[in-house]
Symmetry: C2
Amino acid sequence: MERIKRTERIVAIMRVFTSNPCRLITLGEFVDMFGCAKSTLSEDIAHIKSSLLKMGMGTLETVNGTNGGLRFLPFNSDESDRLIMESVCEELKKNERILPGGYLYTTDMFSNPKITQAMGEIFAKHFYARKPDVVVTVESMGVPIASMTAKALGIPMVTARHNIKASEGSTVTINYVSASSNRMQSMSLSRRLLHRGERALIIDDFMKGGGTAKGIADLLSEFDAEIVGTGVIIATEEPKKKLVDDFYQLMTLYNVDTDNKIVDIKSRI
Amino acid sequence: MERIKRTERIVAIMRVFTSNPCRLITLGEFVDMFGCAKSTLSEDIAHIKSSLLKMGMGTLETVNGTNGGLRFLPFNSDESDRLIMESVCEELKKNERILPGGYLYTTDMFSNPKITQAMGEIFAKHFYARKPDVVVTVESMGVPIASMTAKALGIPMVTARHNIKASEGSTVTINYVSASSNRMQSMSLSRRLLHRGERALIIDDFMKGGGTAKGIADLLSEFDAEIVGTGVIIATEEPKKKLVDDFYQLMTLYNVDTDNKIVDIKSRI
């Protein structure tokens, strides 16, 4: 094999780490890739670690032991996260986003991969220490953000559905009342998607009364899953009492004033 | 500013490129980040370019001119893509994936961010030269793969919905017949999501008769969007005549033999 230079190895290692966030990668995998000594690689890793730290662009976690290795955590600095969420808030405050009925138009933003990736990495940073096995959401606006959160955490995503399809196999269904729509709905989850005792992180785009999050929690209890946290992009200030107690929100929506065309929304990051 | 070493700059540059696939980044952005000379950065870029090429881990495209810069294309080697799709096929062939009615259970795979990211990058590689402005899909199984394709292309994703919500604002709705379900359905797209003349790439998980893809195309024509391509993860071999002529498939499903428990599926990559 042609000799590979340090700069070249670092490029390749960074490509592998950034494509596999939060996944444990052994030094051996890189040894196989480059055909160089472990000691050489350890130096490369030290360079990468210090650079990421200095630039606030993520963390390289070392796991010791026989099953050890390295994990790239794609978590930006708090300052950088704050700037992103402030720019999202500024965009959401634009009065042309106010829809009839006092709804706020967010669909374009919450399905834009650039924005959902950034927000997914913020959720991942917050919930990483709780060691979730799987991200759970409900169709359909929650899917892009849940997908990016799962990607940042290196774990699978599962989606509860309102309409069951034959291609889902056997499913478990529960009924719930969504405060946003104020009507009874049902959600179903394929039996094969979750294993007993898995640690689930609930991610959704919007929370008003918490009925949907409570619905997902009820559904998860049918699978004996353990809920390690709930994250939503936007929670409304009212009602203050939600159906779920413990949740993490990126933004709080205080009011949409349709008469004066003012959106009162604030970042919580 | 503390002097930053080449290895450190390369780590940071790779982090920026891999977080912003297909986005044009000027050398000036890196000059601002590191406070070093353009000539120094040009050398860094040359190192990155040759390393990516050597390892088959993507391409760094140089765009000349006053509005020029660099674009990281996260496209792996054809050989690497082939290996991924073969392993996906192997997994899908497992007989426990056969559901009553001859359906194939794919939900877990097609919502796993690790797999959808890899497949999204394959779609991105195939369609990049057609310069799409936006990825269009229909809820809900298409969303994770469309989202990852859009991310790899650095463009937004929009989702047509079966049920309109007030939070979508005004929408355009069309009716179509899906061959899989063999019934009339409707799909709607928020008026605000697409601009006249945008170049749209249609991405979905599954194609049998092509009714859904045709439905999306009809919906897009209401927006005067130009369709630059259609990509599906799986297309069935039968019917050979689909309602859309030109589409790109990652796998062909020849047959699901429920009696003998055999899934006949092949990668097309």
